[in-house]
Assembly symmetry: C2
Homo-oligomer: 299 residues x 2
Amino acid sequence: MSVLVVGSTALDSIKTPYRENPRLLGGSASHAAVAASFFSPVKLVGIVGEDFPRRYVQLYRRHGIDLEGLRTAPGKTFHWAGEYEVNMNNRRTLTTELGVFETFSPILPTAYRQAPFVLLANIAPALQHHVLDQMRRPRFVIADTMDLWLNIALPDLLKLLRRIDAFVLNDGEAHQLTKEDNVFAALRKIHKLGPKYVIIKKGSHGSILSGPNGFFLAPAYPLHRVVDPTGAGDTFVGAMTGYLASARGPLDTNLRRAIICGSVVASFCCEGFGLNRTTKVSRAAIDKRIRDLEKLVRF
Amino acid sequence: MSVLVVGSTALDSIKTPYRENPRLLGGSASHAAVAASFFSPVKLVGIVGEDFPRRYVQLYRRHGIDLEGLRTAPGKTFHWAGEYEVNMNNRRTLTTELGVFETFSPILPTAYRQAPFVLLANIAPALQHHVLDQMRRPRFVIADTMDLWLNIALPDLLKLLRRIDAFVLNDGEAHQLTKEDNVFAALRKIHKLGPKYVIIKKGSHGSILSGPNGFFLAPAYPLHRVVDPTGAGDTFVGAMTGYLASARGPLDTNLRRAIICGSVVASFCCEGFGLNRTTKVSRAAIDKRIRDLEKLVRF
């Protein structure tokens, strides 16, 4: 089944202690859509400026991503520039130029409105609402977010939590939202805000799924070297949703495997700048790492 | 088979935002020995002063711990006082009174020297060496440590690493020892220092076993509330070693299950002050949490 992905479509300039990479394809929707495309057909909703490189449109196309919902508007594409420290954990934003994103208000093509799976990737909660308003009874809605929206759009985000099936956030955001240091205590509070399923991302420490059938403790795929973690969280939720849309059987069982797919595709994402590594991944390479993870946690 | 445990035997005064608990039974050897005793017979090596409460000797006895190697010397028992912050992650030492521990030089009873499993719990590396010097070809030697010894006794510790089968340390210590931010890169370097097996503890994020057959990613048991984490690391390595000494079959397979036993008994340790909760645990309760963990990681 198909997945509708809405989020940011951007150009990222990423500086690390080792390299500078100007104007890579980035944005939450780009990472999530490419990741989801390994498992299911994807419909992308987003906006780019007239400066958006043709090669990036071709990249989306190579992944079979439906671009009917990608608008090109007069002006410049959203541009983010950031810098990582040596340990790759601390990120500093150098520039944020919203460009055409500033006035973005997604209008879904008719064919998009019946997509059964909806991924509201990281973007202002008001836009996530706006997309949901246009959908015709989707089967499963999952939303991602970031600390920025907890700071400046909390009421919108809280309203959104009552409209979605699954909510994805990282451990820092879970703490910020609930004031709970203990992640399991935080999960309990987040469920009370609405979502039946909550997934907490802990970076290299893996992730936790919490749902009506209890917890699932998911490992991150072990990496000896992280080249660029930008977009790993978007990739995680993208692959997760893509897998879910492709799987038959009970949702609870599928969600566990979906999270493992998320971990694996996110591990590839971290091995290259921007989408460089992710776009070159084969389904066989993904399946190999899934089998690796099975062995890595067995006892 | 039996496990020889050497380490500190102490009185711990533990303050948290919720309670003060003066002069609890503590020390790395106390936690490790009690944890190991759920699985195998334990021989304790340590020293206490004349102020050491009789009830703590009785506690050791209730766990069937052989106390022939526990010396009572004129003077006071090692006393540590510390304080935890609200989030239970940051610990501050208030007092360290070495007492009889200052001049401790363990002499093993003859019956101890043939113990097949040796756990060198956290204590000065020179004392860990001294115990090893007295052993007759043990089958398996595992050592724990702490940041203090990396700071003040690194040459002794490095020498020790060439004499042991398995080394246990936490992620902060692994970084301190290798200057590697990436835990898998750090593991590679630690193996080069000697130990065939390395276990990195990551607190609530679980632990990683690294050995000739690759990695094992072990979860921590999910806890909604941590009462007092003091001794959790000692408990982890104690239960691990106790299980190993009790298990038949290939070491590599046993080590995975041993680490899970460590996670589980450590989770009980965190649910009470000092050894209060750990001493009340039944083998059935341990086995129940092991089965829980099996379900929590399955996909």
